[in-house]
């Protein structure tokens, strides 16, 4: 029987002071006792509205019920049947605007901790050594997947399960996309990602790194001499935007992508054991308030900054970061400058950053995005002294592939155009999904798109 408890079973977390100096994971994860205790809160609704909140429609009450019964293996099976990256999603999904926002318990109490439970089951699965996975690539049609972010990984996995020989081509020297170079270790341990990738390899998926489609080989080569019958494009939205304000090229100014890549992919936190450095002074200002901004500012603290600042032109109400990231950032001592818009980066004679000139903002009428439009308050300019500025104001799709591939349509933001309700691009037998299509979005949306595309590719190949 469901048990009424107002609060979620708290996630065991590492102490904020200790953790803000290392890269160990912040959330320690539920144990079996926590998980079963929390699972009891689920009402097992007839009309499970939480499922409507999940982009891949995980049968949530079903897997939670298995946890309550203590059958973790069954829970894992239910979960995997709909979400190919549960260990990742359980950690990084913005549950508060997806499944947990819909949860019926949440009407009066705190919603069931669906994300924590999902992570628990996936972590349990990772510890099992007896889970059988064997490659069975019994079909002839080879499929190419471009990009190894969540969209590409999931698409490849699904296709391999259907029996297709799949090759993933990745531009960087390691697979994972944003999961590798963007989201930091303290939120998504690379072991988790490596494990997921290993499962795909056990399924027979081949991954070729250091391959830039459009540079090393073209789409035409892939589909011509190399013999791939269908292609999935999951190249993400990796092109960083800059603000265009004076001083942006001073020494000590980074894009969030560069800052995070230096640490996550290149391991600058281990310099000089690793060879890539990152420059952090005492005070680091991060411009923006999405997940990337929170990850950046918390990473800055971990690589030696004494003060991490978030500077955002809107208020905390409009911030797009997950609630948990914001909360963790507060606990770790991040300083928030809301309604503050940077207008110039200031530097010294040698070109090093010394400060960020800002203007205070007030909120006006809602804009096209539905959020209150920030308006500068005249004469309110002031300077925040900082040693580094990191811009985290958004990313757009990388044009590399488009520039060299004929017949691929994109919109004015550089996003690939697909037909309504499908992942078909304007080029025959070429499909796309994830951030490359939607612009910067979420892991689960990318994963869902990869999964749907795999089904469409299967149909497309069967129809030939």
């Amino acid at each position: 029987m469901p048990v009424k408890r107002v609060q979620k079973t708290p996630m065991p977390e590492r102490d904020a002071v200790l953790r803000s100096h290392d890269f160990g994971e912040v959330n320690e994860g539920y144990g079996i006792a926590h998980a079963q205790f929390e699972a009891e809160r689920c009402l097992r609704c007839q009309d499970a509205v939480c499922i409507d909140g999940c982009p891949v429609r995980v049968p949530i009450p079903e897997f939670i019920h298995e946890i309550a019964k203590g059958d973790m293996r069954a829970a894992a099976e239910v979960l995997r049947s709909s979400n190919p990256l549960p260990a990742v999603c359980g950690r990084v999904c913005p549950q508060e605007v997806q499944c947990e926002e819909q949860c019926s318990v949440g009407i009066r109490f705190k919603p069931v901790a669906i994300g924590y439970l999902e992570r628990f089951v996936a972590d349990w699965e990772m510890e099992q050594t007896d889970i059988e996975i064997t490659a069975n690539l019994h079909r002839d049609e080879k499929v190419a997947v471009i990009g190894s972010g969540p969209a590409g990984l999931v698409c490849a996995g699904e296709l391999a399960r259907l029996g297709y020989p799949v090759t993933i081509f990745e531009a960087l020297h390691a697979p994972g996309g944003v999961l590798r170079y963007g989201i930091p270790e303290f939120r998504l341990p690379k072991d988790v990602l490596d494990w997921e990738i290993e499962q795909l390899q056990r399924l027979g998926v081949e991954i070729q790194c250091n391959m830039i489609i459009g540079k090393t080989i073209t789409m035409d080569q892939l589909m011509g001499e190399m013999g791939f019958k269908a292609v999935f494009i999951g190249t993400g939205a990796g092109l960083p935007s800059f603000m265009g304000i004076p001083g942006e090229n001073l020494n000590g100014v980074y894009s969030a992508n560069e800052f995070l890549t230096r640490v996550n992919l290149m391991r600058a936190n281990d310099f000089p054991n690793a060879d890539t450095p990152v420059m952090v002074g005492k005070r680091v200002a991060v411009i923006g308030a999405g997940n990337t901004a929170m990850d950046t500012v918390r990473t800055a603290l971990r690589v030696g900054a004494e003060h991490g600042l978030i500077v955002y032109r809107r208020s905390d109400q409009e911030m797009t970061a997950r609630v948990e990231e914001h909360q963790h950032a507060i606990e770790e001592g991040v300083e928030f400058h809301w309604l503050t818009n940077p207008i110039e980066v200031l530097g010294d004679d040698e070109g090093w950053v010394t400060g960020l000139k800002c203007v205070r903002m007030e909120l006006g009428e809602p804009d096209a995005s539905g959020r209150a439009r920030p308006i500068p308050i005249e004469g309110s300019e002031f300077v925040i002294p900082v040693d580094n500025v990191v811009l985290s104001i958004g990313n757009r799709p990388n044009p590399l592939l488009l520039q060299t591939t004929e017949g691929l349509k994109s919109n004015k933001w550089g996003c690939l155009v697909v037909s309504d309700g499908s992942s078909e691009t304007s080029r025959e037998h070429v499909f796309a999904g994830g951030d490359a299509v939607t612009g910067a979005a979420t892991v689960i949306l990318a994963a869902g798109a990869g999964k749907n595309a795999a089904a469409e590719i299967h149909d497309d190949l069967a129809a030939r």
Partner: protein
Amino acid sequence: MAKILEKRPLSPITKLYRVDAPLVAKAAKPGQFVIVRVRDGGERIPLTIADYDREEGILTIVVQEVGTTTRYLGQLEVGDEILDLVGPLGMPLEIPVEGHIVGIGGGFGSAALLCLMRELRLRGDTTTIINGAREKDLLILNEELGEVCDNLEICTDDGSAGFHGLVTERLQQMIDGDAPGRPDSVVAIGPMPMMRAVTETTRGKDIPTLVSLDPLMIDGTGMCGGCRVTVNDEVKFACVDGPFFDAHQVDFEEAVRRNKMYVRQEQESKDRTTCMKLAVGQD
């Protein structure tokens, strides 16, 4: 991974490698570059493609041992693998004017002139290479460069070989009408001070000039923006828009300053490799 098939010292600090990289060699065009990483935990550094052999699938790169990664690379021998090699990156060189094209190379930059000047000559241009170095021992690839162009000019700062003086002095003579004559276009590849001096030499003389910028890079695909440079008051990513830019529009001061961002860390890292080298040597 790319296997080293041949390794040849060109000067005390410069080495030439021919590596097995069929896909890159097949796609490479003059002026493009690759990014390599030579060990786990290693950094990613850009290296100019000096030459390529499409049939054999071989890529030629020339490396000057200046930092940590180039030193690690210097220790690799024939048969060893370069851990990661990706490319070709950047835009191929396009020289809009035809006629007498002068390619100026300094240090390892001379190597990049190999495929570049050969292609220009095939296009029908008259080609001159000015190969410069501080002293005779540091000059590289004289013989090979001589084969790919119409006129090879050698300059050393100390006069130990060829013209006694800077490449820009020799260039100025040509602009003034000395044989082989006034350039219709100039392309310079090498150390920043040299490229900057060349730029000033041709400025205002109606000689389109291109330089190959080498900012710090990570991914080489336009993902980090670390390689940004200002050209004609516009921000460009050198890895995707470059590496060649209209020299007279480049903000050199900014480019030089940005390249010095990590001097302290680079020294620290280099000191470490020196210690490690010594430690290995003492075994």
